[in-house]
Amino acid sequence: MFDFNEDEVERYSRHILLQEVGVEGQAKLRESSVLVVGAGGLGSPVAYYLVAAGVGKIGIVDFDEVDLSNLQRQILHSTDDVGRAKTDSAKETLEALNPNVEIITYNQRLGTDNVEDLVSQYDIVIDGVDNFAARYLVNDACVFTNTPLVEGGILRFEGQVTLIDPEEGPCYRCVFPEPPKPGSIPSCQEAGVLGAIAGTIGTLQATEAIKYLLGIGESLIGRLVIYDALQLSFREVKIEQNSDCSLCGAKPEITELEEYTIHCSLQEND
């Protein structure tokens, strides 16, 4: 009925054993598509686990090249990949992991001209960017196209993750209304990040995407989880859809995509 071949049944057997997944759920994953924005610290574990899980189509957007300083956390890439396009390096690694998954790469910078078209081609989007320009752009595009978004951010020893479903919960701007002034929030490049934090938060993002695609468990809609590695705590903040939100509120002020300027030449998907 679900026409998995023998190798696929073996590959996904630990999923199929799960009552909440089973053959039917595994088939759902195969029919699903996820866009991973950024093949960096967060995008690496996200893409790894989604490809391993057998999600049928994975899109990866990144315009950057692999740098030696990326390798402390961006586990899709290896030492030999330094200088290569991250999308090429990512595709090679992921295809080696699971050739059954279609990997579509977009070696381009997201902008107002392409983001809505891109996100609307996928069932769910995962944010792994490292600057506010892209973060607000992805959120706004997902709200405009009604595309769910797993939002995640990391810095130093901390991470945050939530699920945004424009049809039923708060968007990023409900919690963080406007991008901070340029330079007021440090990037990983400026402030540092423990590499494994990207793994923790990225893995949570991948898990939430899989839960969403399968329709199982309690979703992160309306809940922002804050991870503090030094304390080893996960704390949850309830967040509400805001009727005054400038994007998804009753009288939105933002009715078209805005392009924010990146404040310096930082790498986008750090």
């Binding site: 610290g41 951010g153 929030i185 503090d228 304390q231 903040v237 509400e240 998907n269």
Partner: protein, 88 residues
């Protein structure tokens, strides 16, 4: 009202939440600085203004959608304070 401090702020206070009796958000910020000194001031303020990295929610709503620092607080309100992180 209950004030919950997360991430780097929690590491300064060494406790997850405290009870304060104040009138508005501005007073919450002042009280935290009074209680925890220079380290808290450095986290919360930038050039004597609330640092843009700091997000303050009142019952799950960003204070910027309410009345900002002048947002009045009631006894049962929950104020949550944490820095926005956006690295990836």
């Amino acid at each position: 009202m209950k004030v919950k401090l997360l991430a780097t702020l929690r590491n300064i206070t060494d406790c997850n939440e405290l009870e304060l009796e104040v009138e508005n958000i501005q007073e919450v910020v002042e009280k935290l600085i009074e209680l925890y000194g220079e380290e808290m001031k450095t986290e919360l303020l930038e050039s004597d203004q609330l640092d843009e990295t700091i997000t303050i929610l009142v019952n799950g709503r960003n204070m910027l959608y309410l009345n900002g620092l002048k947002t009045k607080l009631k006894r049962n309100d929950i104020v949550t304070i944490f820095p926005q992180v956006a690295g990836g």
